[in-house]
Structures are given as structure tokens and as C-alpha cells.
């Protein structure tokens, strides 16, 4: 076994333990009270999991994207909200780490993420853009002492109140067009958050994602030199869709496991013929297999394209369509599996306090089609399909 494989496996064993021992026993309360999964995030910090993807030479764990994705799956099986917080943080880390291009401030920043296990939240959605992440209203504006200020109206900022730092998309300057975007990394002490709404949603309740007006003043070097459109196409969008779909698969897998446990219990009560509901479980397994195949192949294709020199294929429309379709397919299939599990378990699945409860799973996965709305993605795809050739 190579050192890299060994290191990644050790990391995954640790994540599986945290999922089992910390995330699982708190998942019910996190969901019921819509509270931040603080103990799970602390356990991840204690094991230095927040810097797992940071290159080893910057003090991080240096594990691969496949391993981060597998970790999202493991956490998703035990607590969807914990998995989503972990995934979103990793998306920001990965987006920075893949586009460092000798940006000294950001290298130092990743060292700080590793040393202090800093948690990053993202402020990418914005009121006034119609859900289009490739446009911004808020702009970096030169202020006093050479600092750059901004004020952004964000409809949701997941775990914003609990994050150490914010990853914010903005127009490059006050005169820049909406599509001329950059990414800035603002540190907690530079930020003020004014909460603009409440947080009492259907699912993913532990992500604590109300709206905020985000204000900050930052140094010019806290703006990533690589323009956001490139970061978005080569990293942020595909990695988001890959990590989200892995955790949705995790949630759906646990719903399936609960349905299977229910059928096994029924079979044990009446030995002999398989219970009639066992056939429904078989149908459910087909649905889960489709989800698993799509999620796995999306990851494999991204890893392969990322390994090519210059990563140019990642900027093609064919690849944009590929990862958009991963998101659409996984976000529709995951709640379908959870609903199928409910159909198998019946009333004991519907009740929130049995070993076969799948209400949380169903509600959590119903958020999937909304985080970057599928209809918005379909609009983008419709446009790309006019010109893309081999899709």
C-alpha cells in the first residue's frame, strides 16, 4: 500500500468514526432544533479534517478529491447537515487550493486554515441576480488606507454565523460589469453580519442558513488573482456538484439501509416466504444503483479531466453540461430513493422516532433541487445545447 493510499484511508476511517460516534447521535436534535452541528465540526477540527485537502507542504492533510468526496458520503449517511457544512467548507478550500498561482496571501491563508482549523462559509448567491451565480451586484470599492470595502445582500449564507472566514463573489470594482467577477476571502475580524431573515426550513436545518447583509473591508491581496469565472468553471461548480451529490447519495443510502433493516425485521418475524414489501425494496435498490452510478462516474470524469495538462477540457461546454447534469440527476434521484424508502417502511418510516424513520432523509434531500435551482441550471444547459457538439 502506498503512503498516499494509506494516508487517505486513515483519514476516511477517522471520518467514519466521527460520523458514527458524533454526527449520528446528534443528528435528530440538530434537525429538530435547527441548530449548528457544533460537536461534529469540533470533532472534525480535532482531527484536522478542515485542512484535509490543503497540500501537505502548506501544513494540510494532502488527501485527494476522491477521499473528500467519500468523506461527504460517510457524513451524509449519518447527518445531512453536518455533511453539507463539511462539503461547503471543502468546496472553498479546494477552489482556493486549485487556483493558488503563487498568490502569497492565499498560501499563507491555507497555512492558517491548517494551523487554526478555520471554517470557511461562502457568500455566492445574491439578491438581484435571479439566482445567477455568474453575475454580481456588490462590488469591491476602494476605501480608506488602501482597503477595499463591499456590502453584499445575501439571501442565504450557510453557517455564516459560525464560520471563521467568508468566501465572497463580487464585481471587480464599482464600474465593472456584472459578469466581471472576482473572489475575495474576508476574515472574521474584518466582517460585520446583519441577519435579514429567520431560519426555519423544511430540511438541512442544521446548516443554519438565514440571509445576511455582509459588510467587510479587506486588503487588496485578499482578492484571488485568478478571475472568478475560471475558478467557477474549473473548480467551484463541478466540485460543488460532486461533493453535494456524494452527500445526497449518503443520505439516500442510509434511507435505503433503514428500509432494508425494516424488511429484514419483517422477514424474521415470519420465516419462510419473503415479505411482500421485499419486492419494493428491490425496486428501491435499482433507484439507488442509478444514483450511485451517476455520482461515481461524475467524480471519475472530473478527476480524469483535472489530471490533464492545463485542465483545458474542464472549461469546455461539454464538461459544463456534464457536471450540471450530475447535479440535476442526483438532486432529483436522492429524494426519490428516500420517498421509496418511506414506501417500504410505511408508518414506522413516517414516524420521527423509530429506527426506520426516514422523514429527515426525505426533507434533507428535498433541498437538493433548490440549492442552485435546477430550473436555473436547465436554462443554462438549454443555451449551451444550442452550440455544444458531442455531449
Amino acid at each position: 500500500m502506498s503512503i498516499a493510499v494509506d494516508r487517505d484511508q486513515t483519514f476516511l476511517d477517522t471520518i467514519a468514526r466521527i460520523a458514527e460516534e458524533v454526527a449520528a447521535p446528534n443528528a435528530g436534535e440538530v434537525d429538530r432544533d435547527a441548530r449548528f452541528p457544533a460537536e461534529t465540526i469540533q470533532a472534525l477540527r480535532d482531527e484536522r479534517a478542515l485542512s484535509a485537502f490543503v497540500p501537505a507542504e502548506l501544513g494540510g492533510g494532502g488527501v485527494g478529491l476522491e477521499t473528500i468526496a467519500a468523506a461527504c458520503f460517510q457524513l451524509g449517511r449519518r447527518c445531512g447537515a453536518s455533511a453539507m457544512v463539511f462539503a461547503m467548507h471543502q468546496i472553498e478550500v479546494i477552489s482556493i487550493a486549485r487556483h493558488l498561482e503563487d498568490a502569497g496571501w492565499f498560501e499563507d491563508y491555507l497555512r492558517a486554515v491548517a494551523a487554526e482549523q478555520r471554517l470557511i462559509a461562502s457568500v455566492t448567491s445574491e439578491i438581484g441576480t435571479g439566482g445567477d451565480m455568474s453575475r454580481s451586484v456588490a462590488a469591491l470599492t476602494p476605501g480608506s488606507d488602501g482597503l477595499l470595502g463591499f456590502e453584499k445582500q445575501a439571501p442565504t449564507v450557510s453557517y455564516g454565523q459560525y464560520a471563521d472566514d467568508l468566501f465572497v463573489t463580487l464585481r471587480r470594482g464599482p464600474d465593472a460589469e456584472p459578469s466581471d467577477q472576482v473572489v475575495a476571502l474576508a476574515r472574521k475580524e474584518q466582517i460585520t453580519l446583519e441577519q435579514t431573515g429567520t431560519w426555519d426550513p423544511l430540511g438541512m436545518r442544521g446548516t443554519c442558513s438565514p440571509g445576511y447583509v455582509v459588510r467587510a473591508e479587506i486588503l487588496p491581496e485578499q482578492v484571488l488573482p485568478t478571475p472568478f469565472p475560471r475558478v467557477s468553471a474549473e473548480s467551484m461548480v463541478p466540485v460543488s456538484h460532486i461533493l453535494w451529490s456524494h452527500l445526497w447519495l449518503g443520505i439516500a443510502t442510509d434511507a435505503f439501509d433503514r428500509a432494508r433493516a425494516f424488511v429484514r425485521a419483517a422477514a424474521k418475524r415470519n420465516p419462510g416466504e419473503p415479505p411482500p414489501v421485499a419486492v419494493r425494496l428491490s425496486h428501491l435498490m435499482s433507484d439507488l444503483s442509478l444514483l450511485r452510478a451517476e455520482v461515481g462516474s461524475g467524480l471519475d470524469e472530473f478527476v480524469a479531466a483535472s489530471a490533464e495538462p492545463g485542465r483545458e477540457r474542464l472549461s469546455t461546454m461539454a464538461m459544463a453540461l456534464r457536471f450540471n447534469n450530475l447535479k440535476i440527476a442526483a438532486s432529483e434521484q436522492a429524494p426519490r430513493v428516500c420517498q421509496g424508502a418511506l414506501g417500504v417502511c410505511g408508518i414506522v418510516g413516517f414516524k420521527n422516532d423509530t429506527p426506520f424513520s426516514v422523514g429527515r432523509h426525505l426533507r434533507d434531500t428535498m433541498s437538493a433541487c433548490l440549492m442552485v435551482a435546477n430550473e436555473r441550471i436547465h436554462q443554462t444547459n438549454a443555451s449551451l445545447l444550442l452550440i455544444a457538439k458531442d455531449v
Binding site: 455568474s134 469546455t316 443555451s383 444550442l386 452550440i387
Partner: protein, 83 residues
């Protein structure tokens, strides 16, 4: 060819500013061309120059300036001549 490209961007790029003022190397996306508008520019270019951009060329960097579009079209035409 540059003037024809300019005309197509003028008609389909939906730039907030006048294309005539933009140098050939200017970043069209920074000048306000949206992803959606860029698809319309690509379709119009294919139609006008009777070419098809292969998938490897359907990237942001190929369509980010008048100069890069011209380079891509020149390359496609050279390939067509060779065939």
C-alpha cells in the same frame, strides 16, 4: 475578418458599451458579455463563416476577445483547406 467579427459581436454580444471603442485584445466578458450572449455570438459566427466550432474550442478563453475569436476562425479555415 476582424470587422465581420466586430459586427457579429455588435449584433449578438449585447455589450453595454460600443464595440467600436474596444481593442481586439479587450476581454469581452469583462466588457459585459454574458455566457448566454456568448452562445448567440458563437451561433452567429458559425452561420456567417460557415464553420463549426469543435467542443475543444467551445471555451471561455476562445471567445474572450476579438483577437482570440479571429485566431480560432483562422485555425478552423486552415484545417478546412488542408482537408
Amino acid at each position: 475578418m476582424t470587422d465581420e467579427i466586430r459586427k457579429i459581436i455588435q449584433e449578438h454580444g449585447r455589450l453595454p458599451s460600443d464595440i467600436g471603442a474596444l481593442p481586439a485584445s479587450a476581454d469581452l466578458y469583462q466588457a459585459g458579455m454574458t455566457s448566454h450572449a456568448s452562445v448567440n455570438v458563437m451561433l452567429a459566427l458559425e452561420d456567417h463563416f460557415d464553420v463549426e466550432f469543435p467542443d475543444r474550442m467551445l471555451t471561455r478563453s476562445v471567445f474572450e476577445s476579438i483577437a482570440s475569436i479571429e485566431a480560432a476562425l483562422t485555425e478552423l479555415r486552415a484545417e478546412a483547406t488542408l482537408r
